[in-house]
């Protein structure tokens, strides 16, 4: 990619709603992305490799468990800080943000929230420092939007459980040291547990051939009579609310992250439109280009304010899952539309790796589907406002 000339946009002066520390966190992550991510992300995506050197940097800038208390190695930061970190990471690449989201919200969050004190002490500091990487197994080949139908199961064998089944579309799986896995017990109740790489019968084959999130490693989790020690089971949660609690945290981060991708596309499109001359004048002077740019910044601004408010509610422990669904759905869709319009403004250049547009657009096609599809989140809002479940 050409030099990263990104400048952020704050049409409604939302910065005035942030603390100085929020802004320092955001600028630090942005500086790190410009220095360490932008110069290599294009090649990483073209070659479909995850640059492992990002892990140490992600840990240092607070990308792993920023809201986990300091005593467990986390940052002890608030939810707005977490959101801003996710925004800046996804401004770099959705795959990068996915790696951090998974580690923070899908691995560290459940260990902290549902785990025993021993589990917290054993795993969280190493996950915060990036010494260990984690992944999260919920989705199965035949159970995506309907995780409650999962087939993965554990059987009580006295001193351990025997785990069988498989998980699919698992970010970080190919290199993860630990996996938070959800499976049904013999009573059909969903239980969570921590698996460690090296356990007999536990393998993580990589998924190849993706056209999206190419700088993020994706794989499967396969469990073939894996002996899971009983101390690896989460003692403090049973049922679907366990994994859904994790998803709430991750979806909240995605709502912020999508703004980052949209800002990057808008910023590039705005600059390109002012520099690209056709018919003797910059294309930014044509009404149809201005319509695109004006609508982009309008939608970005609405998303920024929606998400900031959600962050405040989350800090106060008042954000509902339905509110988080609305923000995730709105913002990812907004980012995808912004990417598509930005691609048009860039003309043919928009499909090349000289600009981040096509990469963001392809990434966002995953983001609009994972962590609850666009349609499922609509049904969550529908259920919330009508009181009627339209899923089944």
């Amino acid at each position: 990619m050409a030099q990263d000339r990104f400048q952020s946009h704050d049409y409604y002066l939302m910065d005035e709603l942030l603390t100085e520390e929020h802004k320092l966190i955001r600028s630090s992550v942005r500086d790190w992305v410009k220095k360490e991510v932008s110069p290599v992300v294009e090649e990483a995506c073209q070659k479909a490799t995850f640059p492992k050197q990002w892990i140490k940097g992600l840990a240092e800038i607070g990308g792993f468990g920023p809201y986990i208390p300091e005593e467990y190695g986390g940052g002890g930061l608030d939810q707005v800080s977490y959101g801003l970190i996710m925004q800046e990471l996804e401004r770099g690449d959705s795959g990068l943000r996915s790696t951090a989201s998974v580690q923070s919200s899908l691995v560290m969050y459940p260990i902290y929230t549902y785990g025993s004190e021993e589990q917290r002490k054993k795993y969280l500091p190493k996950l915060a420092s990036g010494e260990w990487m984690g992944c999260f197994g919920l989705t199965e080949p035949d159970h995506g939007s309907n995780p409650g139908g999962m087939l993965s199961n554990i059987k009580d064998k006295g001193d351990h459980f025997l785990l069988n089944g498989s998980k699919m579309w698992i970010s970080n799986a190919p290199f993860a040291d630990v996996a938070v896995v959800w499976a049904k017990d013999e009573q059909g109740i969903i239980r969570g547990m921590v698996l460690e790489r090296g356990m007999k019968g536990f393998t993580t084959p990589e998924t190849h051939g993706k056209w999206s999130l190419r700088a993020s490693a994706t794989g499967e989790l396969v469990f073939d009579n894996v002996k899971v020690p009983k101390e690896n089971i989460f003692p403090n949660v049973k049922g679907l609310k366990g994994p859904l609690g994790c998803l709430n945290s991750a979806r909240y981060g995605i709502a912020w992250g999508a703004i980052g991708a949209a800002l990057d596309c808008y910023d590039s499109a705005l600059r390109y439109a002012k520099e690209r001359v056709q018919f003797g004048k910059p294309i930014a002077s044509f009404q149809l280009t201005q319509k695109k740019l004006a609508e982009m910044i309008t939608e970005i601004t609405k998303a920024q304010l929606l998400t900031w408010r959600l962050g405040v509610l989350k800090n106060e422990n008042r954000a509902t899952p339905a509110q988080i669904s609305m923000a995730k759905r709105n913002n990812v869709n907004m980012a995808l539309q912004v990417a598509r319009e930005a691609r048009q403004i860039h003309g043919g250049m928009g499909i090349t790796g000289e600009y981040p547009i096509m990469r963001h657009m392809m990434n966002l096609e995953s983001v609009i589907t994972y962590e609850g599809t666009h349609d499922i989140h609509l049904l969550i809002t529908g259920m919330d406002v009508t009181g009627i479940n339209a899923f089944e």
Binding site: E20, L24, W32
Partner: protein, 245 residues
Amino acid sequence: MKILVCISNVPDTTAKINFTSDNKEFVSAGVTYIINPYDEIALARALELTEGTGGTVTVINVGDATTEPTIRKALAIGAADAVRINAVPRDAYFVSKQIAEYVKQNPFDMILCGRESSDYNGTSVPMMVAEMLGIPSVSSTKKLTVDGSSATIEREIEGGKEIISVPMPFVAGASEGMSEPKIPNMRGIMSARTKPLKVVEAVPVPELAKVVSFDKPVQRSSVKLISPDDAGKLWEMLRDEKKVI
């Protein structure tokens, strides 16, 4: 080893520059402020020099309370403590006098500044501070290493470089190459919350210079393109429109 790093609070290098209608003051509304980029280099080198040695880095800024976010960033990058001289910086003499007076009461082994600030490009604070303290000063420092009670410094000069040795204490102005600016990490940001930031009232300083007005550079006019087939037109334009030939 105790190092003092002087930091200026300057507009982001991408900020839009505007002045009040009487052209006497910079309009700061909506402008993001940062640590002067050369000062960031000085801070990074100071941290490298003290790392693992038990030495400390203090940052000093002359400014009102609005500069504190910039000072906190310096603490997040790794400075141990900070001093803010509570006054709006009027000019280089004013700033230098404040720093020199503080150092007279609180001695340091080394004072590092950026070689110039990116706002008004004054370049004179490091030399003035050294002069007021009666210690050596070195400008445009590209490399700085410490040997016992002296430092070896590499300076950029026309067509080459100059290697000099100075006894401590001294003042040096940091230039590109002395170090790489550091990005604050999460631990640094968290620890900056509780690091000491001392506010010291300014000493009276006579006003030696006054800004009369600021003028922005004249905007470049648009380029006129002439077809290669019509090169004679260029000659005519230079003669008739610009009257340069």
